[in-house]
Symmetry: C2
Subunit: 315 residues, 2 copies
């Protein structure tokens, strides 16, 4: 572990990859690692892109990465999207188009799409961001699918959240229902070359105007076409502008406090989970009680209390 | 509470709606209610439909409901899909087309799309199913978006899971990446009138053949067009056939045991969450520690331990 950390802090990319793998898969060593990494964090800007599948988030991430790199900043990317080309979910063409990013040693990409561990990997996302931050990445980009429930809330791990929609995603009500309008610091209408883009953008602007303002910042609505590379410079400028607003308004402190609160909450959950599920008694007790719940001899809450007593967490 | 339950068990739909609201919003009374309902559960068949947004799941749910009703069975529907017409996410046309289902007193529909409580509602889904089961619904249909992470695994709350895809969703690799192939008891290619439907269906069949078989049941791939109402009878027949397979192979017992195990696990999580977050000391301690985490004076796991000590759950 000490050797791994030594190589990590000397800037060895393989050590970074290894650290992330440990964080994802080894609950025993995860805590120790995170404790060692924490003092070295707080440097990176954290930027999130979210939206429905097929909105073109990955291509935008790729284009933004080029601009950030042009400014001499290093980039870490975490893609939590089973449909992302970063995770192999899209057509070969997409992946080819992104090879510039892949080949750049100043860019580190980690995909978290494998659901075989039933959400386990994706829930490690905030901890993976800790690793990228401690490694010294200047900007961390997170790409998530903003549909349905997420095991973590993107706004809890970023300072700036960009919501990406397309004219096709059509009904702006849908974005609202999914809670996307609430978390947007910037709204992007991507694939803006398509029909209805301008009308859709105006619709979004109207909806934002109707919304109750909770800060000085009114989220801009930007039109981009990631494929044609139009609007990306404006988007990047707006992101930097939001960043400046955060710093100047002291909202940045509030958001970092929220991130810390979320980090403690996750640590609490992890600690408790280990105290329950890492005990050898737990699984047999659960199996026995599940049979009794099936026979309606006991109901799930009473069974839960019995499991908790078994591991010394009873009332 | 006693009066509410009396009305509930006499078949009062308003009492059912009220019970569900309590389950969703009132952690204090939720447990008491669930304990009272549990002995009356175990009657319903639980059927899940999952797939990407826009695959036409809601229309399929509507069509299947008609067939189940024709068989004289009552139906409860839970839609956990922000893009579902049941939850107001789609165009008016969709909603109109479904009015037959809405008007039928033998059908109860509950949507869980409001993300304002940050996933809280959606995570109540399994408990809402308990209420529908105890109310006496013969079949419970759950509709979820099968993209990204879900706060609960649909296969943990159903006996039969139908994965709905469209020729447009294209890349079958994508469905595999999202873990959808793993949980499918039946695969449906919806909007089968469109180009490429047959090729896509063959592709899916091939992928299923390559997969390692874990049971006697080979998931069939069915083509439907929910709009034209074609293929729905075959789908319903296949669902009944899977149900018969489950009963005859005793796999039904295994799946119900898995449901019970998941129910106990959820109860454990709920109990622990209340013991931590319902204490008046917790929030102030968290706020204080979050500041210190921001200043890198303490790292999140140490902070978590301090919170746990505060509420008497320290090591």
């Amino acid at each position: 572990m000490t050797d791994l950390l030594r190589r990590f802090f000397s800037g060895d990319r393989l050590a970074l990859a290894r650290v992330i793998t440990v964080i994802e898969n080894d609950p025993e060593r995860r805590e120790t690692l995170l404790q060692a990494l924490h003092p070295h964090t707080g440097h990176a800007s954290r930027l999130g892109l979210t939206g429905p599948p097929g909105a073109g988030k990955s291509t935008l991430v790729d284009r933004l990465t080029s601009l950030i790199r042009r400014d001499g900043q290093t980039v870490g990317i975490v893609a939590v999207d089973p449909t992302s080309p970063f995770t192999g979910g899209a057509l070969l063409g997409d992946r080819l188009r992104m090879q510039s990013t892949w080949a750049d040693p100043g860019v580190f990409i980690r995909s978290m799409a494998d659901r075989s561990q039933s959400g386990g990997l994706a829930s490690a996302t905030p901890d993976v961001m800790v690793a990228l931050d401690a490694f010294g990445k200047d900007t961390i980009l997170v790409e998530t699918v903003g549909v349905g429930q997420s095991t973590f809330d993107i706004a809890n791990v970023t300072e700036t959240t960009v919501v990406v929609l397309t004219p096709e995603s059509g009904d702006s009500i849908q974005a609202m229902k999914a809670g996307l309008m609430e978390i947007a610091d910037l709204l992007v209408v991507n694939k803006a070359d398509r029909d209805g883009a301008s009308r859709f953008a105006s619709e979004l602007r109207m909806m934002l105007d109707m919304r109750q303002r909770t800060s000085e910042w009114l989220p801009p609505v930007l039109k981009t076409s990631a494929r044609d590379n139009t609007g990306i410079d404006d988007l990047y400028a707006s992101i930097l502008c939001h960043r400046a607003y955060l710093t100047q308004s002291r909202e940045l402190d509030a958001r970092r406090l929220r991130q810390s609160r979320a980090a403690i909450t996750r640590a609490i959950d992890a600690r408790i989970a280990r105290r329950i599920w890492d005990q050898p008694e737990t699984r047999p007790a659960l199996d026995r009680l599940a049979e009794r719940v099936c026979r309606r001899e006991v109901e799930p809450y009473a069974a839960a209390d019995e499991v908790l007593r078994t591991v010394g967490l009873g009332n």
